[in-house]
Amino acid sequence: MISQFVLVVVLGLGAAGWFAGRAKARLLYTGRGSLAAMPGYHAWHLLLWIVIPALLVWTIWAGISPAMVRDAVLADPAAAQLPASDFERDAILGEARRLAADPAAAVFNPLAAGLADTFRSVKLRFDLIGAALALLAAFAGGAFGYTQVRPDFPARTRVERATLSVLLLASLIAVLTTAGIVLSLLYESGIFFSAVSPIDFLTGLHWAPKTGSGPDLGKDFGAVPLFWGTLFIGAIIAMIVAIPLGLMSAVFLTQYASARMRKWLKPALEILAGIPTVVYGYFAALTVAPLVRDFAAAMGSQNPSSESALAAGLVMGVMIIPFVSSMADDSIAAVPQAMRDGSLAMGATKSETIKRVLLPAALPGIVAGVMLAVSRAIGETMIVVMAAGAAARLSINPFDSMTTVTYQIVQLLTGDQEFNSPKTLSAFALGLVLFVVTLALNIVALRVVKKYREAYD
């Protein structure tokens, strides 16, 4: 409540400062060249001087005040009968804090109920101190900024310097996100690998994660069946569907279709890429899986499963078609016109030119596109969650139900498990493997594309 109030007041003061700064700068304006910066820049400069110190003070206060609140509550006579053990005391304090924030929260400890009022009043006191400090900073900064509104003050340069640092911070977010992904995956998998040896995890053939601990734990965390299922569905079945269809679509669109046909067919094909994966998953489970099961039964399979690697892989392949198609499209378009003309001039037909000249020349680009498609397919989650099944099985029968890395991550992390068991943490280890593999595929593919472009430029 108070922090919203502080924010509104500080922004209000900033706005007031903006107008005050502009008014003062306008008064100083006596003619062309009399001000080093336009009045608007003086206004923004003053606003920054009001808002930034105040928000900085408030943020720092929000960081240090909880510890001070805690000490003050402990010093209060109402806290005298708290247990001496740190662990229990912190549990009660935490409960009192929740109760102070939300009177409807559940109470387990009567001591906490008694402390809630103390907690609330102490917290209010410290929040008010913080608010006062923030406002003080706003006024101090504003006063300093106001004295800076002088004819010779380079307000524009200062404001632009501030703008540039904001731009720099924004572009660093991407690096921070990558670092955050790597660190969080490494940290949580580190805890997991302290309980289960990485060798057991990467080479074991039995996957049946369970809670608990012990030296035999590694036997149940063999992830090879998951890796196999992922590759079988994402890199084999899906690619058997996506590569021929995507490639031939690209060939037809670039070489045979008239401009008008291309204008309609290409966006239509791209709709396939825009459909949410959950829709594909539902379609795979509802329509494709029963068809596959009936087909398997007709082929003489005993008790075909309603969840099959084939259903998930087929639908995933269709999802990937526009992706393969557009990558192939780009690589074919990058082949120099002279090569095509040369082949046609020798009397080759169009299809012979495509098969013997264009596709071999475009091959590196197409291979890179397929690698990117594989990386997308193995990271795909919803289709396999809804259609592939949970059984970790090493099988080459596409009608079997199979599980994937992404399926297991979802399975392990949804529901109410305790967070620190090896079972839950193994999801992060799986995530780490997935991240490393997709990253490697992407880097190699992008490098191939780059090299290939250079070859023809």
């Binding site: 731009l167 991407a174 969080s184 995956l185 669109l253 094909l269 509802l286 169009k350 995530g431």
Partner: protein, 296 residues
């Protein structure tokens, strides 16, 4: 002699087989594209056939329920709106500013600038479920933000959407011809002024197109939200950014798991609503691109 060899039956056969190979190849290409589009049509027709009957006002204004006949989609839709608002508010400004910096101000050839570019390109290709793991580890386990709230969901999706906006933003900024910048600089504008007063407004339609496409992708995303627990059973629409909520793709996923046959119709109807929304967004993006596209 030569002309007779062209007319020899041997040569005729050879030519005929080459021409029929040509026709076969073309037909295969057409077949591939027709098959792909046929699958799309099959999917859409199936959803329409199963879901159209369930689309009525009560479905559009109701919330989730254990009873299929009263369950509606509005609760999840409101969750989606709140989540997308957070995503847009975070990813659009950050993405545009990062794109401006990288394209206009970043010192060329510096090691750390390369790191930024490489990580943006890679983030755009990281599987979405990994972003969910990051959201779970960072926002929920580390920062203790409320689980299954639009706030956390929106922040997670913003991390995912930002690289898309940066990449499209950079392309749009790159497409603005240097003469615009030179003209601004020549009449005395500072580099920052030339970018913010001239380049950015010209690049904005392109950036908006990329943003809408990124938002459409975020709107259809399920897996990362599954990780941060956005699968609440929401009987009343969420009131704020920190209330437990669900989103539309998640509602589809949850209903698809129900055993009750009535939910098949609900799921398909929700899919129709979601697809209509997504197509409207993509249509808007295409319209913007066509309307404001400038050929320099």
């Amino acid at each position: 002699m030569i002309s007779s060899s062209w007319q020899s039956p041997d040569m005729q056969r050879r030519l005929a087989s080459r021409h029929s190979a040509e026709r076969r190849f073309k037909a295969t290409g057409l077949f591939a594209i027709v098959l792909s589009l046929g699958f799309l049509a099959f999917l859409l027709v199936t959803m329409l056939a199963k879901g159209l009957g369930g689309l009525d006002l009560a479905f559009l204004t109701g919330s989730d329920s254990t009873d299929a006949s009263v369950a509606g989609v509005w609760g999840a839709a409101k969750g989606s709106i709140l989540t997308m608002a957070v995503t847009l508010a975070l990813s659009f400004p950050l993405g545009v500013l990062a794109a401006v910096y990288l394209e206009e101000f970043a010192p060329k050839g510096q090691r750390w600038v390369e790191w930024v570019e490489v990580s943006i390109n890679n983030l755009a290709a990281v599987p979405s479920i990994i972003f969910g793991l990051l959201g779970l580890a960072l926002f929920i386990n580390f920062l203790h933000l409320p689980r299954s709230s639009p706030l956390v969901g929106g922040m997670t999706l913003a991390l995912m959407t930002m690289p898309v906006i940066v990449i499209s933003g950079r392309n749009a900024i790159k497409a603005v011809p240097p003469s615009i910048r030179d003209a601004a600089l020549a009449i005395g504008a500072s580099p920052v002024q030339s970018v913010f007063h001239h380049v950015l407004p010209l690049a904005l339609p392109g950036i908006l197109t990329g943003t809408i496409i990124g938002m459409a992708r975020a709107l259809g995303e399920t897996a990362p939200l599954l990780m941060i627990g956005m699968r609440a059973f929401v009987v009343t629409p969420p009131g704020g950014f920190t209330d437990p909520a669900s989103v539309m793709p998640m509602q589809i996923f949850l209903w698809s798991d129900e055993i009750d046959q009535g939910f098949v119709q609900n799921t398909s109807a929700a899919i129709i609503v979601l697809l209509v929304l997504l197509m409207a967004m993509n249509g808007l993006a295409i319209y913007l691109r066509n309307k404001f596209e400038t050929r320099w």
